[in-house]
């Protein structure tokens, strides 16, 4: 059976790739249309923050705070205010002059404030917040741990041999995988805040400890000064070093590494991948057409009068369609990366986080696409039907999967192989190689679709 299936697949691939019309339909057309749709939906011509506003976001601030130099400090509150767009410079109270919040724009260009960027709300119940993300109501939930402030406060004073006896507890950003761009923005702001906070505290703490080590009496003077509300406030503010200015614009001066990309590139990666998957679905239709054409030409009947089973024939068609879809997807990814390289001004591959992970998505995704074709084979009897039925199925799957620029709430989107493919690729685009679930679901979808198609083909389809 395997030999016959491979033989049929080889013949199909030879015929497909030696035919100019097939190549145009399979490769050039999706490439062109994909780029056009990406440009239209992705607002590539308006590369700026205007397309991203009011990202729905919630914060669960569990931070219990700490005391530094007699002053109560709660870095969680700081982050809460930062994401809420508060003017921390004015709101810091005592010592405000020392805590200048660098909200100025980079290069003098008008900045998008965090207040405009995020539509933030505070939640008390972490589980409820997660549910809101799962349902698509929120783009992300930020969970600030109870010991966040304590973990970030350095040990200062005599005998303090290390600034941080314990590693600071990380802030958790629970995000919607389908809203990769928004999720990444939230993560970027939170990460920047934490890192700048940590860096500032290390620097200041180290300086004070060095001073105490050289002149132990300075510890006493520091302690005395701590009684002064203004000085204590300044010290606390210094420790806080609120770094809200790190995210004043969406677009930085230039990408520092492959994960620091322009917005337009990220849009291209996400929408482009969705489009690539959408067009890969047409490879499935091509597979169906192949079966119908063979039936009409009589070659299907002739094959089935040899020692070839229906299962082998269909497996051969699946294999041929699988390889075609994989080839089409790879070509589109390379092309999208070239477009992205043009935008970024440097040559790179958008999904280079992990090649094994990339193929762990692409292989089952193209399998699922081919499996869909096998199901269509069982239900489409004439070539005229494939245009209507195939296109309808493709559009529904693409819509559920987010290929048209909007997302459908889970669990409906889970039904679409486009969702799992695009989600997996979005993760890879963000440097996240944890795509095992996506690969598993796509594989199962592919096998299930093939099984269903084969069952109907063996029982229903007259040749």
């Amino acid at each position: 059976m395997a030999a016959a299936a491979i033989l049929i697949a080889r013949k199909d691939l030879y015929l497909r790739f030696s035919n100019r019309a097939s190549l145009l339909f399979l490769l050039a057309l999706p490439l062109g249309l994909s780029l056009i749709i990406t440009l239209v939906f992705g607002n590539l011509g308006e590369d700026g923050p205007a397309s991203l506003r009011d990202i729905p976001l919630a914060i669960a601030n569990l931070d219990e705070g700490t005391t530094q130099q007699g002053q109560a400090i709660n870095f969680g509150d700081g982050l809460l205010q930062l994401l809420g767009g508060a003017d921390l410079a004015g709101g810091a109270g005592a010592g405000a002059a020392a805590c200048t919040f660098a909200a100025a724009a980079v290069s003098g260009e008008p900045a998008l404030t965090l207040n405009e960027l995020f539509a933030m709300q505070e939640v008390q119940d972490v589980a409820a917040g997660r549910n809101m993300v799962d349902s698509g109501e929120l783009a992300a939930l930020v969970v600030i741990p109870a010991d966040f402030s304590a973990g970030l406060s350095p040990q200062i004073g005599l005998g303090a041999d290390t600034l941080y006896p314990q590693a600071p507890a990380p802030i958790e950003v629970y995000s919607d995988g389908a809203r990769a761009l928004e999720s990444q923005l939230v993560s970027a702001v939170v990460t920047s805040y934490s890192e700048r906070l940590l860096a500032g505290n290390i620097a200041l703490g180290s300086a004070i400890n060095a001073l105490i080590a050289q002149e132990p009496l300075s510890a006493l003077r520091l302690a005395a000064a701590g009684e002064d509300e203004a000085i204590a406030g300044a010290l606390a503010c210094g420790f806080a070093d609120l770094a809200g200015g790190a995210v004043t614009r969406l677009q930085q001066a230039g990408p520092a590494d492959e994960h620091d990309l322009r917005q337009s590139t990220r849009v291209l990666a996400f929408v482009g991948m969705a489009q690539a998957t959408f067009f890969a679905l047409f490879a499935a239709q091509f597979g169906v057409l192949g079966v119908i054409e063979e039936r009409q030409a009589g070659t299907l009947q002739r094959i089935l009068t040899t020692a070839t089973t229906r299962s082998a024939f269909l497996a051969g068609k699946l294999l041929g369609t699988w390889v075609t879809a994989l080839f089409q997807l790879l070509l589109l990814l390379v092309a999208l990366s070239l477009f992205a390289s043009l935008i970024e001004g440097r040559l790179f591959f958008l999904w280079s986080a992990s090649l094994p992970a990339l193929f762990a998505i692409l292989l089952p995704l193209s399998l699922a696409v081919a499996g869909l074709g096998v199901v269509l084979v069982a239900f489409v009897q004439r070539s005229e039907q494939i245009g209507a039925i195939g296109a309808l199925v493709n559009i529904v799957l693409a819509m559920l999967g987010g290929a048209y620029g909007f997302t459908v709430p889970e669990p409906w989107s889970w039904l679409s192989l486009v969702h799992w493919g695009v989600d997996g690729m979005a993760r890879l685009g963000n440097g996240d190689t944890d795509v095992g679930l996506n690969a598993l679901v796509l594989s199962l979808q592919g096998l299930a679709l093939f099984g269903i198609g084969l069952w109907f083909f063996r029982r229903r389809v007259e040749v």
Partner: protein
């Protein structure tokens, strides 16, 4: 499989045996259509068997079942001792199919087409290449083997279509109207090929055609199917006799006006085997028409009697009954209807 039937198949050298085949379809209005009703069919090794039937008679259904493309509602097909249902691959391995419609890949060359179907039939390596060469020579396409089939003439495509069915040297080859739409020269070549298959390779051929003269020329036996039933089966001559048709002798006379009614009655009475004697006149010409069981045996005494009566014979034609007349008599329809 049914052991008794399998044993019988082998012992009688019957290559294909179908027994009790039934198949029913549903019409669009939901009413049943009996496409096959208790059809029994046996084809012996090395014979050419023609299956004849008007459109809608059940011929395609029967052939589809024998080819393994369609499952019967009931009944059994055994090819070379293998039950087609239970030992499907083994049975189908003995079968070669030459469909009426060209079933080949137009974008592949003749050689590529043969290689593809040869591999599907389990041929590999040198054996495959040798058989491809032999087949190309057999269907006279060696010179054009590298060209795409789309560039071939209709006759060449048809020959390639035949070659694909013969490549793996099946024991039984089914040919569905292989001469449809070809020029007389290609038709002659195809018919000669069929006869050579049997003569040189001992191949068994199941042949369907709309052309009675073809069936009559190449067939050892003929089966006639109508309304889903095999209504007659046997050698052509036997079928003709079975149908009770007589030879028709036409004697054109130099001067038919001299033929008297009394002579007609005398001929009808005295000629051995003559059933009916009549005179057809037109424009002063006369034609004597004699219906007899064995026309050629009547011919000699008839000519003698006419000479004795002083009548000069201009020409003589003997029309023996053929399949066409048998078919018409059995089905009430001409085969092309």
């Amino acid at each position: 499989m049914d052991t008794r039937l399998a044993e019988r198949t082998t012992t009688l050298e019957t290559l294909l045996e179908a027994r009790g085949l039934n198949k029913q379809y549903k019409r669009e209005d939901g009413s049943p259509l009996q496409a096959l009703a208790d059809v029994d069919l046996g084809i012996r090794r090395g014979e050419i068997y023609s299956l004849l039937g008007p459109n809608g008679a059940g011929k395609t259904t029967l052939i589809s079942i024998i080819s393994g493309l369609l499952a019967p509602d009931s009944g059994q097909v055994v090819i070379g001792g293998h039950d087609l249902q239970r030992e499907s691959l083994a049975a189908r391995g003995l079968l070669g199919v030459v469909p009426q419609e060209l079933a080949l890949y137009e974008d592949l060359s003749a050689r590529q087409n043969l290689r593809f179907f040869g591999r599907l039939s389990g041929l590999r390596g040198r054996d495959l290449e040798q058989r491809i060469d032999d087949t190309l020579a057999f269907v006279d396409l060696t010179e054009r083997q590298r060209e795409r089939a789309s560039r071939f003439s209709g006759g060449m495509k048809r020959r390639l279509n035949i070659g694909i069915g013969l490549l793996h040297r099946p024991q039984l080859v089914y040919m569905d109207e292989p001469t449809v739409g070809v020029d007389p020269q290609s038709r002659r070549r195809i018919l000669d090929s069929v006869l050579r298959l049997r003569a040189e390779q001992g191949m068994t051929v199941l042949y369907t055609t709309h052309l009675m003269e073809e069936a009559q020329e190449i067939s050892d036996r003929v089966g006639i199917i109508d309304h889903g039933r095999l209504i007659a089966e046997g050698r052509v001559r036997d079928l003709v006799l079975q149908a009770g048709e007589q030879d028709r002798l036409e004697i054109d006379l130099m001067d038919g006006s001299r033929l008297e009614a009394g002579l007609l009655q005398e001929l009808e009475r005295n000629l051995p085997g003559a059933a009916r004697v009549q005179l057809e006149r037109s424009d002063g010409q006369g034609r004597l028409v004699v219906h007899a069981d064995r026309g050629r045996q009547v011919l000699s005494p008839l000519i003698t009697a006419l000479g004795t009566a002083g009548l000069e014979v201009r020409s003589v034609t003997v029309q023996e009954p053929n399949l066409e007349t048998v078919f018409l008599q059995l089905t009430g329809r001409a085969l092309r209807d």
